[in-house]
């Protein structure tokens, strides 16, 4: 008699166990898929911004010899700066246009079917103004022939970057396919090309019609001013509030009220702070609109709770033995805190501070409400008076550019985001470094 085969064996899982193991594997896979999905979205987001925005750091320039004709630019012949100033940017534009035609003829590039106006339209309206600034800075150039790099128009720039094509030009009132053919020929002759564009970081914003000239100069200064205001106000106030709540405050209803308030304020939507700023600082206190000062105040109120919370955590992490030792040798409570607890908590407080500042730097919505969205071309003055001059801010400038019709501004906006993200990464990197370097486990 053969022994009956065992009904089941630990080595051979039965159907139910197999199903349970499969469910286990599936569940684990869902988890991995969720994490991967989140990381993938981060990668797609970054990829999309980089692919759209990196080209903003390069710009098309037309390089031709320009004869700075003394008869047009300095009729009096005296090189007197006030006389030179009377020659408008438009006159320079016309001069450049004539030189461009001459250069094309010299290279033997056919311009059939294109009117002089169409050839001039390859250049940005800003090219004349930039040349004028160059001449005003160095009147000795007049009468000479220089090799000038002239800003090309937004559509020509788009053509070289692949955004504008012959088909899109056929439907476009701002550029003709024949002009693009000419640009291709000029590219063959080495007269036009992409090069690094530092003006993107330094130039002010430009009007709707001149995306190629738009830059982030005013926005970067405005953001920097606001960060100065936020830092100057929220560091002392935030640290003082955290020290009081953590080291001195008695446990009573008043302290509870402050604590509940702080944790709620940290979760209030940022746009509500914008409404507060509009009502309190602009309508009630009559501070100027569009000023970095007001933006900084609003962002301070918004950032304070987000600084106080980590600052308190940093103070709490300092062990009581430090306080006991200081009190034991006769220090007062204030001396204990100022001489011993605060220095030990400083790295943690600073880390929280930098992260709070980084959040403030990227905030947009409240700034829209206090008028930072205005079109500003003039650089604000030096602080402190410059804090009240109109300016924009980096994130608001990005929003502003997304609202414009010309697709070239999408590239600008993405490029501006890259600048913003670089700043944020530097700040967060500094915070991580600070934490790694000074973090102390007790």
């Amino acid at each position: 008699m053969t022994p009956a085969a065992p009904a089941s064996s630990l080595l051979v899982p039965d159907a139910r166990t197999q199903a349970r193991n499969r469910a286990e594997a599936r569940f684990r896979l869902y988890g991995l898929a969720a994490v991967s999905a989140a990381i993938l979205m981060l990668a797609v987001l970054m990829g999309s911004i980089l692919s759209n925005g990196l080209s903003a750091f390069r710009q098309s320039y037309i390089t031709i010899p320009v004869t700075l004709d003394a008869a047009t630019l300095d009729k009096a012949g005296t090189r007197d700066p006030s006389g030179l100033r009377q020659v408008s940017a438009t006159a320079y534009g016309k001069l450049i246009a004539r030189n461009l035609q001459a250069a094309l003829a010299a290279k033997g590039i056919a311009t059939d079917g294109l009117k002089p106006k169409d050839i001039a339209a390859l250049l940005s309206e800003d090219a004349g103004a930039r040349l004028r600034n160059m001449v005003l800075a160095d009147p000795g150039l007049i009468g000479r022939t220089i090799d000038a790099d002239l800003l090309a128009s937004g559509r020509v720039d788009g053509f070289l970057k692949g955004r504008v094509t012959e088909e899109s030009a056929a439907k476009d009132s701002k550029i003709k396919p024949a002009q693009l053919t000419l640009v291709s020929a000029m590219k063959g002759a080495g007269m036009i090309g992409l090069r690094l564009n530092p003006a993107f970081l330094t130039a002010p914003d430009a009007s709707e019609k001149r995306p190629e000239a738009a830059g982030l100069g005013v926005a970067i200064i405005g953001s920097a001013y606001m960060m100065i205001v936020v830092l100057a106000l929220s560091l002392p106030i935030g640290v003082a509030a955290a020290v009081y709540l953590e080291e001195f405050a008695p446990r009573n209803r008043f302290t509870d009220l402050i604590e509940v308030n702080i944790s709620n304020l940290a979760a209030v939507p940022s746009i509500v702070f914008g409404i507060l700023g509009l009502a309190a600082f602009i309508n009630f206190a009559h501070l100027p609109r569009s000023a970095p000062l007001v933006g900084g105040l609003v962002l301070t109120l918004m950032t304070l709770p987000r600084i106080i919370i980590p600052a308190r955590a940093a103070l709490k992490a300092v062990p009581p033995s430090i306080r006991d030792a200081a009190l034991g040798i006769g220090a007062s409570r204030m001396q204990t805190v100022l001489h011993h607890v605060l220095p030990l908590a400083a790295p943690g407080i600073l880390t929280g501070m930098i992260i709070g500042l980084a959040q403030a730097l990227g905030e947009t919505a409240p700034l829209l409400l206090i008028g930072m969205v205005a079109f500003v071309r003039d650089y604000p003055g030096l602080p402190p008076a410059g804090l009240a001059d109109p300016a924009t801010a980096l994130p608001v400038q990005i929003y502003n550019w997304t609202q414009r019709a010309d697709p070239a501004f999408v590239e600008r906006a993405s490029g501006a985001i890259i600048v913003l993200l670089v700043f944020l990464m530097l700040m967060n990197g500094a915070a991580i470094l600070l934490r790694r370097r000074f973090e102390r486990r007790w």
Partner: protein, 397 residues
């Protein structure tokens, strides 16, 4: 005489009074600092405060009484004179046993309290500014028509329809889509991170997910506008004949969902980690697989905390502005089609308050009523979430 000059003078006098106080303390102690109750520096600070506080009060009072004007010579002399008189009386009465340290520390503590009260002042400021202007709005526009109106058609020439319901619907619809994305992804990510992931994977993946929370919302807005919107329109909405607009509820909801993933995952992660190990050990000891343990023991135990996390994420989604401004569109509609452009409360606050605004027209003031509703809504959600989370934490402590 100008204000900056006056300020400079006050600062110089304050520094001078610090030095004078320190020197006077040593003088009354006969050059031996050990005879003093407080350190000489405390006496110096005390004298400086005795000068600075009255001067500051005088200066503030003077500025409030006559703003805009520059201080005349009379004020130039009167303001520091008040401070100097106060400082001089302290200087004369200083003795070795004067308790300068206690006084300085009391003043410092006063400053600390003042700074903490700013939080309360901010809340009061928000509530007052919202209530004040909202009351002005309801004087011009009936509250019932605002809260129950189904048409949003502001017209700056007057006779507008300012119904709140289409905006509320858009807000809820976008937030619901966002949560439908963020809750499953965030929750599964949190479970994987806390129960399955190796420490090495965690150190890489956790900061990566949390980076999503650190990216400014304008970046997400642009992402919705130039990438997600056209993608959804060209691949889903247009082929199915559901819509032709890049800006849509689905676009904004999807992108907002990505933004809210870390809010759900981080908090859930903490809460799952707080579930006692003994519960897991008990379940595993009875023969449950890891996923059965998670689904039937860990998650139910963590449920209140997870609900709290979801509520916090919802409050973030409702208050979010830039993603919906750029991704959802501006048309106030009551529609079920997720591929149609709709609008939210925050979008309308921005559009009614930017540009040239007239603060007596109901079309502008309605933004404050919208802001108040938004504030109340998010505050309610936050408080509810905090209560739930706090209650749950107490259970295991």
């Amino acid at each position: 005489m100008t204000l900056p000059l006056l300020l400079l003078l006050l600062v110089i006098l304050a520094l001078g009074s610090f030095l004078a106080g320190r020197a006077r303390a040593l003088m009354v102690a006969g050059g031996d600092a050990r005879r003093l109750h407080s350190l000489p520096a405390h006496h110096g600070l005390n004298l400086m405060l005795a000068f600075a506080l009255p001067s500051a009060v005088a200066l503030a009072g003077w500025l409030l009484a006559r703003p805009a004007a520059a201080p005349g010579p009379a004020a130039m002399l009167a303001i520091p004179a008040i401070g100097l008189a106060a400082a001089a009386s302290l200087w004369l009465t200083m003795r070795p046993e004067s308790r300068a340290r206690n006084e300085v520390e009391a003043a410092a503590k006063g400053f600390l309290i003042l700074c903490s009260v700013i939080a309360i002042a901010t809340t009061v400021g928000i509530v007052l500014s919202l209530l004040f202007e909202t009351a002005g709005f309801f004087r011009q526009y009936p509250a019932a028509k605002f809260f129950f109106g189904t048409v949003w058609r502001p017209d700056f020439r007057g006779d507008s329809d300012l119904g709140f319901l289409p905006l509320l619907w858009g807000t809820i619809y976008v937030s619901a889509i966002a949560l439908a994305v963020a809750v499953p992804v965030g929750l599964f990510a949190a479970v994987y991170m806390s129960e399955y992931a190796s420490p090495r994977f965690r150190t890489f993946a956790k900061p990566a997910i949390e980076m999503l929370a650190g990216i400014p919302t304008i970046v997400y807005g642009l992402f919705a506008l130039i990438t997600v919107g056209p993608l959804l329109r060209d691949w889903i909405a247009s082929p199915l004949g559901l819509g032709t607009s890049g800006a849509s509820v689905a676009t904004a909801g999807l992108v907002m969902g990505v933004m809210t993933i870390p809010f759900v995952s981080s908090l859930s992660d903490d809460i799952i980690n707080a579930v006692p190990q003994s519960l897991r050990d008990g379940s595993l000891g009875l023969g449950a697989t890891k996923s059965e343990t998670i689904r039937q023991v860990v998650l139910p135990a963590a449920l209140p905390g997870i609900v709290g996390a979801v509520l916090l994420a919802a409050s973030r989604a409702i208050g979010e502005t830039m993603i919906v401004v750029l991704g959802a569109g501006a048309a106030a509609k009551l529609s079920l089609n997720p591929f149609e452009a709709m609008t939210t409360v925050t979008v309308k606050i921005v559009s009614q308050l930017t540009g040239d605004t007239d603060f007596s027209a109901p079309e502008t003031l309605v933004a404050f009523a919208l802001g108040l509703t938004l504030f109340a809504l998010t505050l309610g959600l936050n408080i509810l979430a905090l209560i739930i989370v706090r209650k749950y934490r107490e259970q295991y402590e």
